[in-house]
Every structure is written in C-alpha cells, then in structure tokens.
C-alpha cells in the first residue's frame, strides 16, 4: 500500500506535470483570461453608460458606477470560464495513452486528479489576478479592508475549487476532448442569469426567481458585499453552502468516474 508520503509525492509530481503543460502552452490560459476581459470591456464601455444610470442606489450612476457594480460579477465569470480549461485538460489526458501507463504503475490512485485540480486552481488564481489587474487599470477602486479582501479571495478560491471538481467530472464523463470543451459551457451562461450584470429586481417574475435561487447570485452578492460594500446577510451562508455542496457532489462523481475502468475495446 502506498503511504501518505507517497500520495503527497505523487500528487506533487502530477501537479508539476500540469503546471509544465500550462507554462509550455500558455495559449489555453490566455484564452481563459481573454473571455472575461472581453466581457469586462464590452459591458463597461458598450453597455456601461446606459446600465450605470439604472443603478440608482449605487452613487452617481454612469459608467464608473457600473464598473464598480460589474467587477465582482466579472470575477465570478472568470472562475466559471477558467474551469472550462480543467475539463479540456482532464479529457485530453483520459483519451490519450498515458493514463493507461499511470494505471499500470504503483502510484497513488488519486494523484492524477489531484494534480489536475490543484493545477487548475493555481491557473484560475493567476487568471483572476490578471482580470483584476485589468479592472484596476480601468479605474475600479475598492475601499475594502485587508480582511475583506482576504475573505473575498477565500470565497473565490472555494467557489473555483467547486467548479473545477465539477469540470473535472465533466471532463471524465466526456468521450472526446471536443465534448469536454462544450459540456461545461453552461457555467459561463449562468452568470448572465444572476445578479452578476444587472440587479435581479429588474428581471421578470419567473426569471427573477431562478436568478435569486441559483448559486451564482449569492456568490456574486457575497463578493460584491466584501469588495464594494453593501449588505451580505444570509447570502454568504448560501454561497458557502452551494460551493461546498457542488465541490462534494462533483468530487464523489469524479472519483467514481475515474475508478470505473474504461471498458476496453476488444483487441
């Protein structure tokens, strides 16, 4: 049996492998960062002037106010977009020959998935820093305390962890890399049906209820409250509950998919 020390060593080896992939082929990371940055620019400069006037409560209104409103939403969509990369890299591994090699070696069973998940988490955090840098360059300012920033970082990390496990499971479930790059797309659509871009109060009844009860709204509201002020209330509890729930369910699903040996085609 492999000891705990070997589990850690093997996971670290797999993490190094995944980070090496990211560094050698930065185009995937740049694509994952490009998507939220394009949305940030689009929403601030194209729609921002109009949308900002409708904010009312958020200060003077206008483009500047909308920037303040939308950045937390953009950070959430960054997490969702970055998770797409996990499904692609997991599926690339699972459809290639190397996974069979790993399976015939006496290595810790979870190491392959742990390497992917931690590698993706680091990638997501790097992309978040990049996107936040663009937001700051556009004039986004926060008066939040260091503690509030830390709490926001923790919330984003927890949510990223949940979506990455979900994306890992989707990558394992996909029969091809092409499928894996499509199935997690809904994750980038859900933020539009939440409070990320416009207040849910402006939506028609049915949609409003959906928006208020889906995980992206409480998580956006929690980040918004921490970074730009405003009431958080029970939203934080809902945000943490959703994240832990998604992470746990996805983790169990992913491990089950991974352990179910692929039915080999007869030789």
């Amino acid at each position: 049996m492999t000891s705990v020390a070997y589990t850690l060593t093997d996971s670290a080896t797999m993490l190094r492998r995944n980070l090496k992939h990211q560094l050698r082929y930065p185009s995937l990371t740049l694509m994952l960062a490009g998507f939220p940055i394009v949305f940030l620019l689009l929403f601030v400069f194209v729609f921002g002037g109009q949308l900002g006037t409708g904010l009312g409560g958020h200060g003077a209104g206008g483009r500047g106010a909308y920037l303040t409103y939308v950045v937390p939403g953009i950070l959430i969509i960054t997490v969702a977009s970055a998770a797409l990369g996990t499904a692609i890299s997991v599926a690339t591994d699972m459809t290639g020959g190397i996974i069979d090699r790993f399976r015939t070696m006496a290595i810790s069973r979870g190491a392959v998935l742990t390497g992917h998940v931690i590698g993706s988490l680091l990638q997501t955090l790097a992309v978040l820093v990049l996107v936040l840098g663009v937001a700051l360059a556009l004039g986004f300012r926060s008066h939040a305390s260091a503690l509030a920033w830390l709490a926001a970082a923790g919330m984003l990390t927890l949510f990223a962890f949940a979506l990455i496990w979900l994306s890992t499971a989707l990558g394992l479930a996909a029969k091809s890399v092409e499928t894996a790059s499509n199935t997690p797309m809904f994750l980038t659509l859900l933020p539009f049906l939440s409070s990320a871009f416009v207040a849910t109060a402006t939506m028609p009844a049915g949609l409003r209820q959906f928006a208020e009860y889906q995980p992206f709204t409480p998580i956006t509201q929690t980040i918004r409250g921490l970074l730009t002020g405003g009431a958080i209330g029970t939203q934080a509890i809902a945000a943490i509950a959703w994240s832990v729930g998604i992470a746990l369910a996805s983790y169990l699903w992913a491990v089950r998919l991974y352990n179910r040996r692929r039915a080999a085609t007869p030789s």
């Binding site: 049996m1 492999t2 070997y6 060593t9 093997d10 080896t13 190094r16 492998r17 090496k20 992939h21 050698r24 082929y25 290639g96 020959g97 190397i98 069979d100 090699r101 790993f102 399976r103 015939t104 070696m105 006496a106 290595i107 040996r261 039915a263 080999a264 085609t265 007869p266 030789s267």
Partner: protein, 326 residues
Amino acid sequence: MTINMPVPTISARAVRKSFGDHVVLDGVDLAVTDGTIFALLGPNGAGKTTMVRILSTLIAADAGDIQVGGHDVASDPDAVRALIGVTGQFSAVDNLLTGEENLRLMADLRHLGRAAGRRRIAELLERFDLTGAARKPLSTYSGGMRRRLDLAMTLVGDPAVIFLDEPTTGLDPRSRRTMWQIIRELVTGGVTIFLTTQYLDEADQLADRVAVLDHGRIVAEGTPAELKRRIPGGHIQLQFAEPDALHAAATMIPDAVPDDDQLILQVPGDGSVASLRRLLNELDETSIDVEHLSIHSPDLDDVFFAVTGHATTHLSADRDEEVLQS
C-alpha cells in the same frame, strides 16, 4: 500448483473475458518462465491486447486465476504494478513534454530520487539513441523515436516483468530490427518479457516459447522449433527452364508436386545435405537441367495454417490487411 516445481513468473489459468455478449478470452492458460521471452501470437481480434490488459492489472478478468511475480492480479494489483512495466500498442507518452521530461516524470513516479533518477535517465537516453532529441518536444519525434521513448519510460523503474503489446506494429523494417535488438538485450539482463505480435517471424526471431491465440483460445503452444516440427511444411523447390524437363523430373520423383504454370517442382524434404545430394545425383544421372534450386524450411506461417485450419488473414476483421504475410 505443486510446491516443489519452480513457480512461473506469469501464470494464468482458465482466464475468461467477455465484453457484452462478445467472448474475447475463452479459457486461456499460460505459464511464462523467469527470464524468458514469451510471445502471444495471433491476428487482430484474437484477444491479445485484452490478455495483456488483464495481466497488467488494467482490466479485471471475468474468471480465472492469474499470478504475476507470485502476486495475484485481482487481490494485490499494487504489488504486481510495482514489478511490471507495460508498453501498450498505442503510444503512452506525454505529448506536451520533452523526451527527457517524460523520463523524469517516470523517475519521479517510481520514487527514484534526484541523483539516481538523473543517472537512469541519462543512461536510457543514451541506450535508446535519444540523447540528441532529449530536450526537443515530442512533436518533432519520428514514429520509431516515440516507440523507443515509450519503451525507455517503461524501463525507468527496472521492472522485472515487461509487457509489450505489439511492440513493432507500424514501424519501418529498420526500426523494427532495432526494437528486436533492444528486446533481446533486455532478456539477457534477466528480465521476463511477455509480448504480443501478429508478425509470425517476430515470434520466431525473439521468443523462447510461443502460444498461438485464435478466437480467444490457445490453439498451440511450444518453442518455435516444436511448433515448426508439428507440420510437414519443408520442401525443396526446383525451377525448370522448360516444361519437358519439369515433366521428366516429376515422373522420376514420386512425391513431387509440379506447378505447370511456373515450371516449379516441389519435392518434400527437410533440406538435409544427404537428401539434397541424393536428389541432385538422381537429376544428374537422368541429365535433367535444373535452372534454380531453393530450400523452404517451415515457418510459423505454416504452423498457423496447420493448427487453425485457416490462413491468418481471414481473421483480421477490423484493420489493415497487409499484416501477416511477413
């Protein structure tokens, strides 16, 4: 299993495996002695890869008793995995890393340690003639180089038992010969090798023992020489310049089989010097002119036909047709 007999490194009894209602392995028995090369020979679809996947712990058999290096593959797969190295039919390399990084990955996963790992990697790169390409991305590697890297990765942890699933399929003749040389060197180092092949001459060239797999059953087993002895395939072939000479010779030698179109006479015989001399003397006495003489010794192609009653190519249902006439 009796206790005073040497325990084979690989032993399999009554192995069965089905995918859905398609029976792939239908009661396979195998035993491979320590330090030898064992070849599982058969056409596409015979069940060779499935057998390798079961022996190397990748998939579970439906039934049967399988031990590798004294460990049961079903109840103690990790002990088996610590002993074995597997090079599958399809490339098992990391395409996004360089050759050296691939070997480094294996050294880390085998927990070799920094210095020992570096030594082993340098030694393998040198041995497999990959030192020059070590730091290049795999996209620049040829098919033969990838196959060599694949095998080098398998060897990083010094496995005692190596499984090679069709190690030379798709290689050009030169790379194929290099691979044969590498396999022979491995076994002189004390390693036990289990290989599958659809090339009959490959089994003949490399293996100490050969088992012929057909439709999920072992239809023949033995040394290449034993298998060849089972069939009367040897003959002397005489080529004539004109039909008259062919007919004269055919009437003189009773067992001979003439081929009128090609002006060839096949005379059964083992190709020994005595039988050749007798034949040539007879031809000399009757002044029959023979243009050309060749000796055909039986090969595994003949064996396959003799034990299965059908030619190998009839079975290759799914893929290439060139396969088996090597």
